[in-house]
Amino acid sequence: MGIVGNTVRSARFRLSRWVLTAILCIYLVYTLIPIFYVVTASTKTNADLFGTFGLWFSDDFHLRENLVDLFTMQDGIFLRWLGNTFFYALTSAIGAAFFALLAGYAFAKYDFAGKRLLFALVLGAVMIPQTALVIPLYLLFSKVGLLNTPLAVILPSLVFPPGVFLMRVYVEEAVSDEIIDAGRVDGAGELHILSGLTFRLLMPGFATVFILAFVAAWNNYFLPLVVMSTSDQFPVTVGLAIWYASATTGSGGNLLFTVVMAGSLVSILPVILAFLIMQRFWQGGLSAGSVKA
């Protein structure tokens, strides 16, 4: 943006530009190597994975066979895991983003008793260690019979404090008090003002919180590891970790490293694609969050 093409520049400027670009390229290689490795490993036979150079393809292109293995292994359980992850992440993220939107709007546009205390509580929640929450959740869910059900993963994921913080900042920026006052003059109820007048304005913020909550739920490992006990309820993170563990300890029988690699590739692609497609939203949303912080 700040680059103007027509101005004449000194040699020093051009030099520093190339040097800095080169530095970033080095880190770019570092960033992409693990992902590239997963791509090449997914295309190899198990023998080639060990016998050929890791960061390049081998002559025997085996991607299709690995994918077939991946989706047929243990009666196609991998597809079930993918479906579970998608379902858990989608429901959690929709709920979390919607609740965060309502709460963030309330924090941004109203004064009420207990506002400061409640907001401090929400922010303080990020300091709580995972285990401090997940272990009592496990015990409580076992009492009410929710263990090993989708609700055991979805319900706790509806609590997304960073979303409330982001939405509050976003609403303060995006919705002017004049719009709300105009609605009041028209005699609209407060909730109708939100749904009818301002919801449209809130969509970018909502989308940002949705994406962040979706990624957090998609990547969640510790909670499902603890509350899910049968393979058919696992999300892909827990399932793959178990395959990986049995492949590394050699107890997996015919479970192959290449299948684990293909599974990793398949499970990161949707999130990466979602990020690329929706980058306008999350970049805008994150910058809104930075203005006040």
Binding site: I3, R12, T21, A132
Partner: protein, 300 residues
């Protein structure tokens, strides 16, 4: 669209006074049910002790007294302090440097770098650990292959001395881009009415970035350091997942969260595990508070 639909319904008018409470209700409900209640339940657990004979009884703060002198817990905290002192400065200074470079407009293909550096954040920690586990592999990993090709000794990423660095590298890979995006967004929000970077040569653009822009995002840097401290002290997934590869180095109390997990789900000591979690929470609070005090003093 929403409005015209709403117009046909009998309207329930909710006034200014109760509206915030109605709006907050769904979030507060889940917040209380799945955060506050479990915390209270866990705290109550931590005040009890379950024995095979005699069942559960109230023991006051006995579990905390035990935790305060438990070497397994404190060795985990000490490990994470050392881990954080390596990982955080590298990760955050890389993130800051990249954000300043991208913001200065002094490089080609800014958009590509910004997105590519952020991509690892979209990769689950489980899969990131798994990928690096393969890359580190002593038998077939590409790093070992290159070393063999160059007739160098194979690096052992899972040795006593290397393990912290190996895990730190995974987390640096995962979160540098995320922090970079936060810094970048903060830098972009600074009004550019002073001087445009594109009108300067490299040296003065550098001076401008470091002298003028950097000080303006210090509050954001403090926020990211806070989040890194909190995240570091809660480290679990990465060491847990590479345990199989580094059996001799990673034990069941490698980090405090790992210890609490083992206590609860291997040893069934839920009461003591709850106490450990609360002490860890207190350690996190103390570190965060100490950092806030230090940064406030530094700002004066």
């Amino acid at each position: 669209m929403t409005r015209s639909l709403a117009g046909h319904r009998p309207r329930v008018i909710i006034g200014k006074k109760i509206a915030p409470y109605v709006l907050l209700l769904p979030f507060v409900l889940v917040f209380v049910a799945f955060l506050i209640v479990p915390m209270i339940y866990a705290f109550n657990l931590s005040l009890h002790k379950t024995a095979l004979v005699g069942g559960t009884r109230f023991v006051g703060f006995d579990n905390y007294a035990r935790a305060f002198v438990d070497p397994n817990f404190w060795s985990g905290v000490w490990l994470l302090v050392r881990f954080g002192l390596i990982q955080m400065p590298i990760m955050l200074s890389l993130a800051l440097a990249f954000a300043l470079i991208l913001d200065s407009g002094l490089v080609y293909a800014r958009g590509l770098f910004r997105i590519a550096f952020f991509l690892p954040y979209a990769v689950p920690a489980v899969i990131a650990t798994l990928m690096w586990g393969y890359l580190y592999g002593p038998a077939y990993g590409p790093i070992a292959q290159i070393a063999a090709f160059l007739s160098l000794p194979k690096p052992d990423f899972f040795s006593e001395n290397a393990i912290l660095g190996s895990i730190a590298n995974i987390t640096i890979w995962e979160y540098t881009g995320y922090n970079m995006i936060i810094y970048f967004a903060a830098l972009q929000a600074i009004p550019t009415d002073l001087e445009e970077a594109s009108k300067m040569d490299g040296a003065s653009a550098f001076t401008y970035a470091v002298r003028v822009k950097l000080p303006m995002i210090v509050p954001m840097i403090i926020v990211t350091i806070m989040f890194s401290i909190i995240g570091t002290l809660q480290l679990f997934s990465e060491p847990y997942l590479i345990t199989n590869l580094a059996r001799s180095v990673i034990n069941s109390h490698f980090t405090p969260n790992y210890y609490a997990y083992t206590l609860a789900f291997t040893a069934q000591q839920y009461n003591y595990s709850a106490a450990i979690s609360f002490v860890l929470g207190a350690v996190v609070a103390v570190f965060s508070y100490a950092f806030m005090l230090a940064s406030n003093r530094g700002a004066r």
